[in-house]
């Protein structure tokens, strides 16, 4: 129990997490906290480990050392320090506490928009079909797709698919939502509708950890920005501080300069 009392007020507490793929060290002693209601954005050059970090948080990826806690509970492993994986059931239950939205949507193509949302509600949350259907309709309404409940993913545009992806994740009422470059597979004119949904969720107090290359959005929507480089956290701070052109962090300055050069 002492661990729980020690835990900071952070909802997500990542401590000294390291991970290697074979000889390649992808995460080097990463630490990061996200408080309830906070929106934290991770930026950084390609290959810096952003995706891997997010995937470790819901244990789609295992990590080699360190600890990741959500609400004081160790993710993935039975206890911090040991590398004993939780049981399949436990892992599934833990994963239901985090929502994830994927870059490539990953909607279930054999299920309708509503069916995609209802699957977790019925199988994991144990809701009845009619309860789940109601919840699905509610969340589809929230993302502006009430009229598409019975459409198959193949009948939706990319932006609509991604909004269903978001609805599917939040309908599970997760403690934290993980979003990995959720607009980068979209045509530019569809990005706005998806970001608008994310923004409204943030306004409702949803805790989020997201990776994005949309700097303007990161600046406006984030409580804090984390800059990752070479598998480590290189800088953390409020958007204004991190995105300031005159930052003293050399790597961050180079990243931002290059980023601006290519995006504006």
């Amino acid at each position: 129990m002492s661990d729980a009392t020690n835990a900071s007020s952070a909802l997500l507490d990542v401590r000294d997490v390291s991970k290697a793929f074979g000889a390649v060290e992808v995460l080097r002693s990463v630490s990061l906290q996200v408080k309830r209601g906070e929106v934290v954005t991770v930026i950084g050059p390609s290959g810096s480990g952003k995706t891997t970090l997010l995937r470790c948080v819901n244990f789609l990826e295992s990590y080699d050392s360190g600890s990741i806690r959500i609400d004081g509970r160790e993710v993935g492993y039975r206890e911090a320090g040991t590398r004993q994986r939780r049981s399949e059931r436990d892992l599934a239950a833990m994963r239901a506490e985090t929502g994830m939205v994927f870059q490539s949507f990953n909607l279930f193509p054999h299920l309708t928009a509503a069916g995609n949302i209802m699957l977790g509600l019925t199988k994991v949350r144990g809701k009845s079909q009619s309860e789940a259907r109601k919840a699905a309709e509610h969340w589809l309404g929230r993302v502006g797709l009430a009229h598409k409940a019975d459409s198959l993913p193949a009948e939706l545009s990319g932006g609509q698919q991604q909004r269903v992806g978001i609805a599917r994740a939040v309908a599970m009422e997760p403690k934290i939502l993980l979003l990995d470059e959720i607009t980068s597979a979209l045509d530019p004119e569809l990005v706005g509708e998806v970001l608008a949904v994310v923004r409204s969720l943030a306004e409702d107090g949803m805790t989020m950890l997201m990776v994005t290359h949309e700097m303007a959005f990161a600046r406006d929507a984030s409580s804090r920005i984390v800059f990752m480089a070479d598998g480590g956290v290189s800088a953390v701070g409020p958007p204004k501080e991190i995105l300031a052109a005159e930052t003293s962090n050399e790597r961050l300055r180079t990243f931002l300069a290059r980023f601006r050069a290519s995006h504006f």
Binding site: L60, A92, A96, F102, F108, H110, V124, A154
Partner: protein, 216 residues
């Protein structure tokens, strides 16, 4: 000539019934065992995967005829005495099972990894992921090659005639033995096999379209 063939029709019909019965048994048994082994090949522990891999590659690497003789003549040496009918069904089933294993593997492997991950992310357990996400999608990839393969089972069943089982093939040979009307009877036999298999392949095309619920 015509009267002789007409006279033989009931006998041929009996043989035809045996052909259908053998085919049905083989198709159903191989489907059950093949799906189980196929899932084992994809998700099972390493030793099981090796066993299934070796089983499938070996069976698919030898002629069905050799497999059938091996089972029919070889089994008694191991102390197991099966009536020739069941030895034949066993051999054909082994062969078909290896095919089904590959169809299952191919179908499951064609489902993108993101589907599993999305299912994990909403907290589905392994068995829930299989039954709610992977299998429904894999089913549709499995169906076309599998149904196409049903005609292989019907064609393969003609080999049981070599073990003295009176299927359609054997019935035709026996009628020829009495009537010496070889050509008309072989052509009649070919047309019967053709009719069955062609009907099956038409049905399979229709089913395929029915299950194409995902536009790509």
């Amino acid at each position: 000539m015509l009267s002789q063939i007409l006279y033989a029709l009931p006998f041929l019909a009996q043989g035809f019934a045996v052909t259908l019965w053998v085919s049905l048994l083989v198709v159903v048994l191989s489907l059950i065992v093949g799906v189980l082994l196929g899932v084992g090949l994809v998700y099972g522990p390493a030793p099981l995967r090796w066993v299934v891999r070796i089983f499938s590659d070996t069976i698919r690497g030898i002629p069905i005829l050799v497999l059938m003789f091996f089972v029919y003549y070889g089994l008694p040496a191991t102390g197991l005495h099966l009536p020739s009918f069941w030895a034949a069904v066993l051999a054909l089933t082994l062969f078909k099972t290896a095919q089904v294993v590959e169809y299952v593997r191919g179908a499951v492997a064609s489902i993108p990894k993101g589907q599993s991950e999305a299912a994990m992310a909403i907290g589905l357990t392994f068995s829930q992921r299989l039954t709610s996400v992977i299998f429904p999608q894999a089913f549709r990839r499995f169906l076309p090659p599998w149904i196409n393969g049903v005609t292989d089972a019907v064609k393969g069943s003609a080999l049981v005639s070599l073990l003295g089982i009176t299927d359609l093939m054997q019935a035709i040979n026996q009628v020829i033995g009495r009537t010496y009307e070889a050509m008309p009877l072989y052509i009649l036999g070919a047309l019967i096999y053709f009719a069955v298999n062609y009907a099956l392949s038409l049905a399979s095309r229709r089913l395929e379209r029915r299950f194409a619920f995902i536009r790509e």
